[in-house]
């Protein structure tokens, strides 16, 4: 579970190459696009596609960190009446810390009409977009999850929301190291270490960063 790195006293900063090895990108699309190969060639080796989702617990879904969901043509096996958008709502509700991108060949004007699903997505892309745009987004979300500096930044923002003030990055790093060493990132432990009433979000971020899971 902690195979991603050993419990050193100092948490290493992961390089983009290392992040590309860890990060799992999943495309849920009934059509195959060369983009998936483009991402793999660019180093995102754990990129794959499934045509639709049979179960929200299936391993490809559970293990992925970033999901691109086509808003048309998927979500049928689970019988969502607004297809991909319904699937996005279900995925985001079940896995709030996974990044989900709604992507489509749909006219954006029409998509706005289906507001729920589209607003829950972390981002939207047109299928027409450049490889640069896809890679930019994958890199951004992957760094948020797995880069040490970004993780600290995320925790900082969550702490501002929870306790109303900013905590020094060094202090966060010390606490994060403590949790990594103890290998306990449960909500209770995180709550103790960070002195938080509601530590669920911070625990989630830490779990993702340390284990690549959750």
């Amino acid at each position: 579970m902690f195979g991603l790195f050993t419990a050193n006293k100092k948490l290493p900063e992961r390089s983009l190459d290392e992040i590309k090895q860890i990060c799992k990108v999943l495309f849920i699309d009934d059509k195959n696009f060369p983009l998936i190969e483009i991402l793999k060639t660019a180093g995102w080796v754990n990129t794959r596609r499934i045509k639709d989702v049979d179960s929200l617990d299936q391993s490809e879904v559970r293990e992925s960190h970033i999901m691109f969901v086509d808003i048309q043509g998927v979500g049928k096996r689970l019988k969502f009446h607004d297809e991909g958008l319904g699937l996005i709502v279900a995925l985001k509700t079940k896995y709030p810390s996974k990044k989900i991108i709604a992507y489509s060949a749909e006219d954006q004007g029409q998509v706005q009409a289906f507001s729920d699903g589209i607003n829950m997505a972390d981002s939207r892309m047109s299928k027409n977009a450049d490889p640069y745009q896809f890679q930019f987004l994958v890199e951004k979300f992957a760094k948020e999850a797995f880069s040490l500096n970004e993780c600290i930044e995320r925790i900082k923002q969550l702490l501002i929301k929870e306790i109303g003030r900013s905590v020094e990055s060094d202090a966060i790093l010390k606490k994060l190291t403590k949790i990594a060493t103890s290998k306990n990132f449960s909500v209770d432990e995180v709550g103790k270490v960070f002195n938080l009433q509601n530590a669920a979000n911070v625990s989630s971020v830490i779990q993702l960063f340390l284990t690549g899971g959750g």
């Binding site: 939207r124 047109s126 027409n128 450049d130 930019f136």
Partner: protein, 342 residues
Amino acid sequence: MKIKYYHIIYEGKIIASNLPESHLNELQSCDTSIKKCVCEIEGSHKRHGARKYTSGLVYLVSYDKNITNKILEHYFDACIFFIPYIIKNKEDIRDGEERNFKRLRHNLISHNANILQYIYNLVPQDSLVLNGKRQTEVIKEIVIKKPDETSRTVLRVLKSANFMKSEFDVFDMINMENPYLEFHKHSAHKITLLNLTPFWLDLIEKGIIIEIGPCHEHVIVDYKSISVALCHLFDNATKYILPNTSFSIYFRSSPKEIDINLEMTSIKITDADIGNIFKENYSGEIATKIGKSGSGLGMNIVKKLIELNHGEISIRRDIDTRQRTKSIVPFERNLFQVKLSK
């Protein structure tokens, strides 16, 4: 509720109605005067009437005890008064949409035709038809025999495909009140280069010396919309630039902004131009004279897109009078500046 049911006919078509089917007979048997009676369907008193007007008929039904014939007459008057305006509004919207759609269709057909023709120019259509089994062999032979032309073809196809992408992006954005935008930090240098790339070949073939200055900073933009704007500026540059001159792209940084500067020797921007260049459907004077105007989006949309990104565009013309040409078509050194937030 004063008016419970309405039924409006305009030029033979029902344009607005909430009249249940059960009441249709009432309409048939109603003449133009307002009648007060007991409604057999709903069991209470009602006033109803059908008023004809030049383009059709309005039928109104009220169950309101407080309404009088006179008041109902006013409702008829108001209805009939507003109908032509509502129809005109609907038609204007529809015409606007049709215009946009026609433009999109026209441009996509042009770009797609270019793509097909670039490829068929390199790979004759018949050679693929007659050699069904050996298609990949046919292409390999052409690549080996004509490597330069093959390279140029690939680049031209990319350029046209990129234009098609731009068309779709713009169509979505101009048809919406609040287009969807996603702001991220992008490298100013990178987004400039990414959008210059499709035009590089054309510029090189015109003998343009492209100079790009450094920039290590980021701007906060919506990539999709700023790309369309930059693309259009580069497309214009390619069309209107003087061959064998330099195209200098450099960046200037200030505390809150980055300026992307596009400096080139291009067709003269006249006094009339400078006042009107950002107006809808305006084409530059010299561009019109040389017959190269009007195939693009318009600087009007470029300005809108840049402003959507909280940026600014400005033009400084004739910045180096020594570089004015004495040719029939006048060229001057011009600077296009795009300011974006950090």
